[in-house]
Each structure stands twice: as C-alpha cells, then as structure tokens.
C-alpha cells in the first residue's frame, strides 16, 4: 500500500536527523526583488525553530530516499536495517520546499539520500531537484546538497552550479574506523571528491585567460561530519583529523555528531546515551581554532590520554596548563594574547581594544562589560588588580570546576 505524503515526510526526515549540519550561512547575498522568483539568502543564516534536542531548524533536511545499498553500521538506513522505506519524487521535494519557504518555516533545503541503483544515478536525482528549484521555480533560497563521493566529477560540477553548499561526510575520524564500520566506503574516494570540490571552488576566484569568470560553484563552501564515540578514536585523533580537513580542503565547517543510538542498531555499536558533553567540548575546541587563533595541536598536547577535559572548557584547561603565559596586562597585551584569557571572547576583546585607545581599563570597566570577574581575575593585571600568587595555586582548577557529584547507584 502506498504511504501518504505525510507518512513519507515523517520517515524521510526521521532518517535525516543524524546529520548535524543545518547551517544556512556563508553564501553570496541575493534577493528576488529585481528578478522574478522567490527567496533570498542572508550572509548569516537564520534558524527558524529549535527542537527540544537543542538543535536549530534552518533547512528542510530530508532524504530523497532511505533505501540504500550500503551497509554502514552506524547508519539507520543501511541495507540490513529493519527500518521502513520510502521515497520522494523530485517534484514532491520541490513542492514541499517551496511551500515551507513561502510560510517562512525554512531558509531552504538540505537534501541527502541513501544510495540507490548507483552513485551516479542517485547524484543525478539530487542535482535534478536543485536544478528544478533554481531554473524552473526561480528559487533563490539556500540549497545544501549532500554529495555522493563516488559520483562522477561532472555531476559534482553540476551540483555546484545550483547548490550553495556541498558536503561529504568523512563519517569516522580515522581510516580504521571507516573500514571497520563502513566497508563499502573508502576514505581515499571521499577525500578525492573533497579535493575535487575544493579545486572547483578555488577556480571561481580566478578569471580565465580570456578574462571570463568561471561558473558559480557552491559559494557557501563545503562541510563534513564525523561521528564521535562509535569507535575508539580519541579527541586528539578527531581534532588532528579536523586540522587536516580544514587545511587540505579549506572546509567551512567540520561537524561532530555524538553517536546516537539508533533503532534497529547494529550489534557492533555501543548502545549507550550519546556523549553530548564530549561533543560539546569538541565544538568548543573547533571554535578555538576558528575564532581564537588556537592550533588544534596545542589544545590537546597536554592532555594525558588525548581526551579533552570534561570538567572545564578547553580554553580554561589550556590556560591552567600554560600558566607561564599569564597574567596578561589588559591594557598592553596584543589581540592574540587577550583571546587566550579565559572569560574573554572575540566580542569583548574587540571592545577592549577600541576602548583602551582612549582610556585605561580598570577592573570595574570589565565588570560593566559583563565579563566574569571571578573567572578572569587569576589571569590578568589592570592598574588596580594584580593576582598575587593566585595564578600559582595548585588548586586553581578547583575554583572553576563544577562541584563533585555523588555517583548514581543505578
């Protein structure tokens, strides 16, 4: 019996929820006031809702189909899973995207799919959705396509014409992890597709010899995702993987997805709650790399087991391990050093740099900026404050760490 539209929507969005990305940012800015059509993109994305898992809903994130010929252990849609299957037609996805967009529910579409028949066939169908949206419907909202790694380069090139962002998931932080859990996927194929996308994006920045601009290619860049906690990779393994991904393929984002138990799970996987705090710490480390000028290596080099401290955030943890750097003079230190001070973020650093050109900053100035004085005090000096011995205290960490909790008996 054929399922209703609504039933298929439920199945195909349920199947898509393990992809963490829902970003709609970083593309070129465009509107539809001057040309016929619908939609616009803003430089910073918009989250239109949040679900009780604390994640934002920015895009209509669905699978074209959850049928799949692959058997990746961590995936709810693998061929050996007992999950119900469904498929949307190109026209159905286009219609739903347009109707949701008109009601301001979403910024656009994030379309992914299980692999059916062949990689090329699947990729062709995904590209067709984007093409119909752009060319037939004049849709100027955001489109994120999940690229199929083994699809032909021509199809990837065509995808980049219509999509704002392309992504390919590396899935596992290490190659061993991938071989173990996703036997049909190979990390060389994934990486060569990412390299191909990068080359295409780089090419749009240069004019050809004839002075022509190459065609548009995924102006929102590419991103990827790694599953955390399914295999034995340490945080250090994960972050060094990220480091390579950011520099080799110039990714916009690496997403970390705490492995979440799935219905019909493979026996090979841990049936436990997703390691959400660990995932959070990895995002914080990623943030330090992208906005605070940290190298990934420094973040984990002093961690004995290669794991980030779960008790305190990675920036504070780094500061506690590198006390010789502190205290930092708030009125003299360069930007890079201010960004290393626990309790200061890029925004407050910006205000401090602008302000100190006109006046000397004192402790109560910091308080007015709503900087946590308790947190920042051991690490800074101002004309009216010097942390006598505080920075040398052996138990400094205990001033920040959460109070110990009694272990649960169950």
């Amino acid at each position: 019996m054929k399922r209703t539209f609504s039933e298929r929507l439920a199945l195909l969005s349920d199947a898509a929820k393990y992809d963490a990305s829902c970003a709609s940012s970083g593309s070129d800015r465009r509107g539809s006031k001057k040309e016929p059509g619908l939609g616009s993109t803003e430089r910073s994305g918009i989250c239109h809702s949040w679900t009780p898992d604390g994640r934002c809903v920015s895009l209509l994130k669905i699978l074209m189909t959850n049928f799949c010929i692959y058997d990746c252990a961590y995936c709810i849609n693998r061929v050996s899973s007992g999950v119900e299957r469904a498929r949307f037609s190109v026209e159905e996805i286009v219609w739903l995207t347009m109707e949701f967009y008109r009601r301001n529910y979403i910024e656009g579409l994030f379309l992914s799919s299980g692999i059916i028949r062949s990689s090329d066939y699947t990729m062709e169908e995904l590209v067709r959705v984007a093409k119909v949206l752009r060319l037939d419907r004049g849709f100027r909202g955001y489109i994120h396509l999940k690229a199929i790694p083994d699809a032909s380069p021509d199809l990837l090139a065509e995808a980049g014409l219509y999509a704002d962002r392309l992504s390919i998931n590396v899935e596992m932080p290490t190659e061993t992890g991938l071989t173990q859990y996703a036997p049909e996927k190979d990390s060389i194929g994934i990486r060569s597709a990412m390299g191909h996308i990068r080359k295409k994006m780089d090419a749009t920045k240069e004019k050809t010899l004839a002075g022509r601009r190459p065609p548009r290619f995924a102006p929102g860049g590419q991103s990827t995702q790694m599953i955390v906690g399914a295999d034995a990779a340490t945080d250090q393994d994960i972050l060094s993987s990220s480091s390579a991904l950011y520099s080799d393929y110039r990714l916009k984002r690496v997403y970390y997805s705490a492995f979440s138990p799935i219905p019909h799970a493979s026996q090979a996987l841990p049936a436990q709650k997703p390691p959400l705090l660990r995932e959070h710490r990895l995002y914080q480390a990623d943030w330090l790399f992208r906005f605070y000028g940290f190298q990934f290596q420094e973040i984990t080099e002093n961690r004995p087991d290669g794991m980030l401290d779960l008790e305190v955030d990675p920036k504070l943890s780094w500061a506690l391990d590198n006390r010789a750097v502190f205290p930092v003079d708030i009125n003299q230190a360069p930007r890079e050093l201010l960004l290393r001070v626990p309790g200061l973020g890029p925004r407050s650093v910006k205000v401090l740099l602008a302000t100190r050109r006109h006046k000397t900053i004192r402790l109560d100035d910091l308080e007015r900026l709503r900087v946590s004085i308790r947190k920042i005090r051991p690490f800074i000096t101002t004309p009216d404050w010097r942390p006598v011995k505080l920075i040398d205290r052996m138990d400094l960490k205990s001033l920040f760490a959460p109070p110990p909790q009694q272990l649960s008996l169950l």
Partner: protein, 255 residues
Amino acid sequence: MKEHLVSLPDAAPFSLWRLHVRPLLAAGIAPEHIIWRSTSEQDDLFSQPEPPPETKTATSQTISKDCLRFLETLLCHASPERFSLAYRILWRSRRERALLKTGTDPDVVMANRMAHQIGREVHKMKAFVRFREKTPQGSNMRHFVAWFEPEHHILEKAAPFFARRFSDMNWMVLTPKGSIGWDGETCVVTREACTRTIFEDEAEALWKTYYRSIFNPARVKVKAMRSEMSPKYWKNLPETELIPEMLAQAARQTW
C-alpha cells in the same frame, strides 16, 4: 535653570524625536535639564511645561553619520529611557569624539545593550514570523498573513528583509506595534496597532510532522532550546505546541 519638558508619544519614531531635539541642542540645553515623558503617562506633576526654546542662531551641529545611525537604532527600543539616553549620547559626543568607541562608558554600555537587544529581536522576527495562506478566489497572486508580537519598534528594520525574500507574494505582517505590507511592488510600514487574527493553513500539519520527526529523542537539551527560542514567542509558533508531547515520549524511551 528651568526644566524643559518634552512629551512624545509612546511609539515616537526617530524623526519625531529629532525634531524635538534640534532646538534643544541649538539652545545648549544640557541633558539634566530635560524631562522626557511619554504622552500615554498621566500629565499632572508638571502641568506647566516650558515651551520649546527658540533657536537663536542656526548653529550647525555636525554629528557623525555613525552616531546618527546608532541613535536611530537606539530609538527603536521600547524602553521609555531611550529618549533621554539618546539625547545624553548626542550631547556628550559633541565634546567627547571617541565616546561611542569607549565601550566601557556606562551610557555607552547601556546603549550598546539596547542596540544589541534590537538587533536580536530583528533577527528573531526574521526567524519566527509564520505566514498563513489566505488567497482570495480568482487572485493571480498568492496572499499570506502573519501575526507577530515584537517588544521593540523594529518593523522598519525588518521590512526590507521580507520584501527582498517574499517578492512574488502578497503579504502582511500584523503586530500590536504596526504592520508591514507588500503587494508585489511596494512595501508599506505603519505604526498603527493591529489585532490578532488566526486562521487555518493546511501546510501547518506537514510542518508539524517535520518538526516532530527531525527531533532526536536521544539527546534532549531543553535549556539550549529555550535560550535560543524564548517561550515568549511560543504562542505564535504552530510547532511549539508539540513540545510537551515530544518530551514525554522521549522520556519513555530507554537507551
């Protein structure tokens, strides 16, 4: 020196405030000698207000563009403090050129905070407006109406976004602080209060199906959700009525 009383309506826009401010500034009336009142307040304490002072000379007051733009944003705030704060900043920045860059000055801290709240609400309005279809028979354009309840006077700021995005539809955003309308060609913003209208839209059922299915019950983080999507917006979002049921179901699952 006598106090000057300036009465402005609650929803006074920047342009009106500016008209009142020009003569005061030209006459050199210091901020501490001005009392700002909203006309909705009871008029009994100061029954004999000082008339606006006459402009002696057309003293040219050069105010930087950045400062003006900043004050214009500040005037979108709903706080009755905004009139006096904006005047104080205007007054002081004539002598203290770097005032707005001194991010730790108490007036600037307060103004920056208010500007931040306005920016945040504009952003949330772009996110949380929900259009419902109401296309009249025979119309060649699709018609949509939304109801939204902003705290601040942000409609002028949010209007260009909606006009840029939903250009091929005919739509209205109605709010207690005014409305934005678009007929396919022109965008009209008013400050006249509207009344709440709610009607059915069939697509909402699909949206709710999507919202329910994209939620991962293995990773409940209610605090994160509430900090980004404040419950004050919930009553006008069709999907949020599902939250209690979704949480109850998640609690029953064992992993």
